[in-house]
Amino acid sequence: MTRYESLEASLGHTPLIGLPKLSPKTTEGAPRVRLWAKLEDRNPTGSIKDRTAIAMIDDAEKTGKLKPGATILEPTSGNTGISLAMIAKVRGYKLVCVMPENTSVERRQLLEMWGAKIIFSPAAGGSNEAVRLAKEIAVENPDWVFLYQYGNPANTLAHYQTTGPEIWEDLPEITHFVAGLGTTGTLMGAGKFLREKNPEIAVIAAEPRYGEVVYGLRNLDAGFVPELYDASILTRRFSVGAQDSVKRVKELLEVEGIFAGISTGAILHAAIGIANECIAAGASAHIVFIVCDAGWKYLSTGIYSNDGDADVLEGQLWA
């Protein structure tokens, strides 16, 4: 069924796409290792965050926290804000986003297009500073509704109820699930669901490693771990820098024709690392990874052009 009552209703059920060329070559008769991409850019506003945003708003409406005409507050580097802005517009809420100033220009334009108000947090603090500032603003404005994706169980639940089951339905042979680690909602929710179905499935996190500006002034005692994070759901966790992420995003584009955002490159890098380990171990594998969004919002960085260099991402929150 591809007919829906509204844009929101078309959420999820994103395609799981095989990567015949990027999956490692194996000799005939040897166990096969296959890579599968779940294209989350096919959601209503073009990212996996539509699942989180709709779930958090639905939950806040159900529990009575969110009343008609209310103002929603959220720290976001882009995608969650864009999802929330669209839904807020359609359902008649106002949205205030706290966003680090070192994010791409397209993300600001999209937020403003759907009527969101943006409060910028300093580049040097990265996302931690956006979270800190948003928590402060929430205290100052008790009538605003602070959804807070890092600690809102509706975020994890969205992936437990949709992303995980969709993957399981499409590929019950799955051996590895690889996704990005931000709020941790995708990994905690879909990872938990898949593990319950088959405890042997490895759940692997890829987190972006930024340039020094982002970590620079960080006080080690005031770090940040999302409230949703539960390390027991994960099997392994990798840190992937801008160079490797950009290299993989270009590979995905050139070899398989998939135009993904930069953070997907970090996830693919981890997925390919796992694939190579499986080959070396002589094990067959079905490795599912998440394509978080498409590359449109990152064109202005210039990394997709032939001579596009990951150095331009230094100091930016590219994922």
Partner: protein, 95 residues
């Protein structure tokens, strides 16, 4: 036999301990031994990484880009040529 030698990447916030060196070397067969070796060369740095004999909550350490908490934490094994990266925990991407 000599202990494995690894390179350790130091975050900006800890460089006052390493005379502002971004990358230093250390010896050890395990992460725990590497941290002891670091602390011998750069006194005080060990306390910034460990608390009550455990990795501090807001410190992440990676061996060849993999998080040591999933590799045995302080017992994680090292071999010569491995790269150890120390980073503060951050609110991650795509938020």
């Amino acid at each position: 036999m000599a202990l494995p030698t690894v390179e350790v990447r130091i975050p900006t916030i800890l460089r006052p301990y390493t005379n502002n060196e971004k990358v230093v070397s250390a010896d050890g067969e395990s992460l725990s031994e590497v941290i002891t070796s670091l602390n011998t060369n750069f006194p005080g740095i060990g306390d910034r990484l460990l608390e009550n004999g455990e990795l501090r909550r807001f410190i992440n350490i990676y061996i060849n880009d993999e998080d040591v908490r999933f590799m045995g934490s302080l017992a994680a094994a090292l071999k010569t040529g491995d790269s150890v990266t120390i980073l503060p925990a951050v609110a991650g991407g795509r938020m």
